[in-house]
Structures are given as structure tokens and as C-alpha cells.
Symmetry: C2
Subunit: 258 residues, 2 copies
């Protein structure tokens, strides 16, 4: 199906199509499709754009990443389906290691995702095997790499589950989550919860990384001034405002998500 | 995977498992999994329970159904996966005809869904073939039965898309939608939008049908007194209140949906 660029829901439909294609290629699991739907509903509530508080979190994320000693980006099936190019580009800009880490793990799926990222220019992508375990997680979900997430000081976990986010925080890492649900345990647990759609978030962080790499003082200032609780509070205010305007604005015949 | 009944998210996890199983059986399509995720996010916002305004709409739906001359329940893949037994039971209580009607239609999938409903006790389930077309819909999505949706005066469309809901309303039918998004075009277009989770909605409507069948005067009174705009307004107030309490209540470490 060809979706015209002029379609009001173009971006959202393209994302959906990418996921279904990746599911057919054995990269995305059915649970990932359901999770994507949850994200779609939240993104609709947020107006399908980056909010001001999300932009603040994205800049803080970038500041932590440029100052990190061993930054790592964690990639799962949905992330590889939706933004492989953008993830690889961000990894090179930082520069950071990429590790494929799956909730519904099979080695075959890990290999397919590593291949996808490599095809998009990723180098040294970690994933298969694993030589370390994250404490407090059941065995299959704990598997990771010393050269990757296990040894990282700053980890980006886009579309991650709450347990793993919590386990990584407990290990003392700075955990940057990307999750559209501001009330999820992932968003509550992360050191820097970025409440934004994946591709938008990665592109914004990428831009801030390129800016802050040239300005270490500004990066240091941002790391110091970012306050998670304040940022989440601003996010909740924004969400409340959005919902009020959605409910007020709802004309009986306007096109909205079905 | 065995999910213990004591799990705080038991119902939601069972539903997810049912959908994934039905997807493996060729009953649910990937787009249906994504749509289910959107519903999950809304249901989470609603507190995963039937709201007072939803209950009012469910009673109005039951009143219309017991007074209908040719009531029909439309069933798609997600509906067959999530509540086949409940749908058949409701159809018998009214009594109403069931017609399988798919957005992503293939005759093979229609047949599989007819078989599922028949296995759960459904009789005379319509679906394959079709001998009429709903005006204003593209050809494949328009196909329907004279003895079913085409000839119905009251139609229940659970988890339906906006275009078809609108087309049925334009045909002069009383359209009862079941959709968790109160802002969707389906909810805006339907004669009676029921904003509730599918299984809960069907069980509640079933109970009201059994009650109102014995009380035609009360059914007539309810049909007269139900006002869609008032009901939706009450739904929006409820949603605003829920969101406010979610945002207020969010302790940093509480378990919420990931």
C-alpha cells in the first residue's frame, strides 16, 4: 500500500507499516506490535509532536551522553524496525556502542537485528552471546555484554520495560529511557525519562549531541541543572493541558484517530 | 506462559495472550494487535473499569437492541479473539444475527472467524460471500449481507473503524459502537458510543438486555432519555478527572503499565 505524503497521519501510518514489515521479517514480535499501539495512543494525546519538557529531557540526555566514558545504546526489535538509521547515526555522533537486547529473546532474532543495524552502517554491534548478567533479572533477560550495557556508565534504553530499567538504575548507571507513557514504571525509574516518540527523540538527541560536543561547559551546566522530578511535573502539566484542549476542541465530525 | 490469577494485570495479560494466540491461528492481523495496544492505553487511563457514563450507554444500547426488528452484531478478528463466547451469548439473549465483517478482509479469515463463533455455539453466522454493498465504502470493505448488516435496523459494531461506522449511520441505522477511545471518529459518529473495554461492555449489555426484555416500558423510556452528546460530555469529564488523579497519585515507585 502506497501512503501519500500529504496524508494527515503519514508519519504514523509509515511507522505502522515499518513495524508490520519487520514483524514479517522476524524482527518484531506480536507483543511489540501491541506495545506500539499503546505508544500510538499516548502520542495522539501528546499531539504527535515533541513537547517542551521532552525537549529539555532530550538535551539533558545528550549532555550526559557526550560526557559519558562508556555510553551504550540498547536496541530491541521495535527500535530496529522504526529507527535503525537514526540509531546508528546517533551512536556515531556520540560515539557510543550499540547492544541488541531483547525482552522476548531468541538468538536468531538478536542476529537478525544485529544484521539490520549493520546494514544501516552500524559497526561492532553487540548482541549474540553475552558474557555478563544484570543482577535482579531472570536469567534470559539478564544476559548482556561487559563491553556493552554491563560495563556502561550511561545507557539509552528506548522502549524498555520497567524491570530492566530499574535493574540498570540499581547498578548505578545513568539510564536514559525513551517511552511515550509518562506514568510507566520505565519513565518513573529512569534517571532521564524522555517522553517522546522514538524517532523524534533520537533525532533531537542527535542534534543536541552535535551541539554539546563542541561546548563541554554547556554540557556540564545542563547535567547539573536538569531535575527529573521538575521535568516530569512539567510533562504532566502539559499532558493535562493537552487533554483539556482535546476534550474542548472535539467537534462532532473532526477526523481523529479511530 | 501461565499467568497467576492474583497478578494485578491478570485480565489485561490474558487478553494479550488471547490475541497473540488468535494471531497465530490466522484470526487476528498485525494491525489488530497495534489497535489493541491503543485500546490498552485508553483502558489504563480509564482505570480498567466501566465508568458510570459507559454504563449508561450500555443500558441505552441494550434498550435499542431489545426493541430492534433486525438487530445484528458485527464481528471482526479482534472481537472473535477476545470475546467469542460473550458475543454468542449476547446474540442469543437479544436475539440478534451475527455477521463477520473484516476491515482487512480475506475470505479465508472470514471462514476461520465464522468457525470460531460456531464452535462457541453461534448459529447461522453470516460472513463469507455477501450479497449487498454498503454505500460510500471501497469495494472490499463494503461487502455485506442483506440478511445481516445491510438489512439491519440496529447494528453493534465493536472495535470498528470510523469510515464504516459513518457509512452505516448514513444508511439510517442505529449504530452501537464499542471503542475505548472517546475521541475516535467511531465514537463521534456512532448513534450510541459505548466507551468501554469489549468484554466488559458485552457482558454489561447482555445483563441489561435480559433485564429490559421483561420490561418494554422501561426500554422505551431509556431509548427516549439517552442523549449521546450528554453522555459523551460526562465521559470527557470522567476522563479529565481520572487523568488528574493519575497525575496527582503518581508516586515515584508505584507499579504502573510499562
Amino acid at each position: 500500500m502506497k501512503i501519500p505524503r500529504s496524508h494527515p497521519r503519514y508519519e504514523s501510518l509509515i511507522r505502522r507499516e515499518r513495524l508490520v514489515r519487520a514483524w514479517k521479517a522476524g524482527i518484531v514480535v506480536p507483543e511489540g506490535l501491541i506495545a506500539h499501539g499503546r505508544g500510538e495512543a499516548w502520542d495522539y494525546l501528546f499531539g504527535e509532536g515533541t513537547s517542551a519538557p521532552a525537549l529539555v529531557a532530550e538535551k539533558a540526555a545528550a549532555a550526559h551522553l557526550v560526557r559519558a566514558k562508556r555510553p551504550v545504546i540498547s536496541v530491541n526489535g521495535n527500535v530496529a524496525a522504526l529507527a535503525p538509521k537514526e540509531i546508528v547515526r546517533l551512536a556515531k555522533a556520540i560515539p557510543a556502542r550499540i547492544e541488541v537486547n531483547l525482552f522476548h529473546r531468541t538468538e536468531a532474532r538478536v542476529r537478525r537485528i544485529v544484521r539490520t543495524l549493520t546494514r544501516h552502517g552500524g559497526t561492532g554491534v553487540l548482541g549474540t552471546g553475552g558474557d555478563a548478567r544484570i543482577p535482579h533479572l531472570d536469567s534470559r533477560r539478564a544476559l548482556t555484554h561487559r563491553a556493552g550495557i554491563y560495563g556502561a556508565d550511561v545507557v539509552v534504553v528506548p522502549l524498555e520495560d520497567g524491570d530492566r530499567t530499574e535493574a540498570l538504575v540499581r547498578m548505578g548507571k545513568t539510564v536514559i529511557a525513551i517511552d511515550l507513557n509518562p506514568l510507566s514504571r520505565t519513565s518513573q525509574m529512569a534517571s532521564i525519562p524522555v517522553v517522546d516518540e522514538l524517532t523524534r527523540a533520537v533525532l533531537n538527541i542527535d542534534e543536541f549531541v552535535r551541539e554539546l560536543r563542541r561546548d563541554p561547559e554547556e554540557a556540564a551546566r545542563i547535567v547539573k541543572s536538569y531535575k527529573k522530578a521538575d521535568n516530569l511535573r512539567a510533562m504532566y502539566s502539559f499532558l493535562g493541558w493537552r487533554l483539556r484542549s482535546l476534550l474542548r476542541g472535539r467537534p462532532a465530525r473532526r477526523k481523529t484517530r479511530d
